[in-house]
Symmetry: C2
Subunit: 114 residues, 2 copies
DNA sequence: AAAAACAATAGACCTTTGTCCACGGTTTGA
DNA sequence: TCAAACCGTGGACAAAGGTCTATTGTTTTT
């Protein structure tokens, strides 16, 4: 599929898709190298983009995402991928904990101000 | 206390404290307006700064923090403050949920790649 | 075939969140 | 008293994450 379709389906703007691509988060092929230079995306790009959107909301950086994408590439060591992803999971859990603490603080503030 | 002491106690740099102050997160008084223009901070600034640090780690923006600070100011309506803080708590919970989803996705990816 | 819609690239621009620096005053300890 | 340590201001700089525009080329639609 072309970028417009992918953008529409994923809810991620064309510019952002190209930005992600420049940053190694997704890849495309040239759909027809003789006539145009349009990017062509496989269906799994859509899944990735949806993941990226959620992950960004969860506070992961583009660099984080790239390291996951890279580690899980076909060519890569399965154990390495596992380690990288495991590490990111740990970081996410820490962040979730931190959020919990902040919620606590705010709830205390609320009840303390009664 | 002066900015250096506050910085040292809070672990927040002087520059960042001034930055926060410019952005309405904390306030100071002029310790001795005749001789110098040094800022003077009350003890509760330390508590705020510690909260800010945790909240930033949790993904809250400086603007978020400012709205909390403003709403909870003495002069403000108690109910308004409650509403603002409640809203921020909701947002934090949403973020925590989002993190949970991302963790799920990553764990699936891990077990799916076996 | 002509217009409308879509795509590519390069580069400018924007916001957020700080950090660093230079320059000039103020305090403080030896 | 004199240097070291501290403080203030203003402004430059930076990195991240996009967004927008201009220009040009390709498809599609009518």
């Amino acid at each position: 599929m072309r970028i417009g379709e992918l953008a529409q389906k994923s809810g991620v703007s064309r510019d952002t898709i190209r930005f992600y691509e420049r940053n190694g988060l997704i890849t495309s092929t040239d759909e027809d190298s003789e006539t145009n230079s349009y990017r062509n995306y496989k269906d799994d790009c859509l899944v990735w983009l949806q993941f990226f959107t959620g992950a960004r909301e969860a506070g992961m950086s583009v660099a984080d995402l790239r390291s996951i994408v890279e580690a899980t590439a076909e060519s890569c060591d399965r154990d390495l991928a596992r380690a990288v992803v495991q590490r990111k999971i740990e970081e996410l859990k820490e962040r979730a904990d931190q959020i919990g603490k902040v919620i606590q603080f705010l709830e205390n503030a609320l009840s303390g101000s009664k």
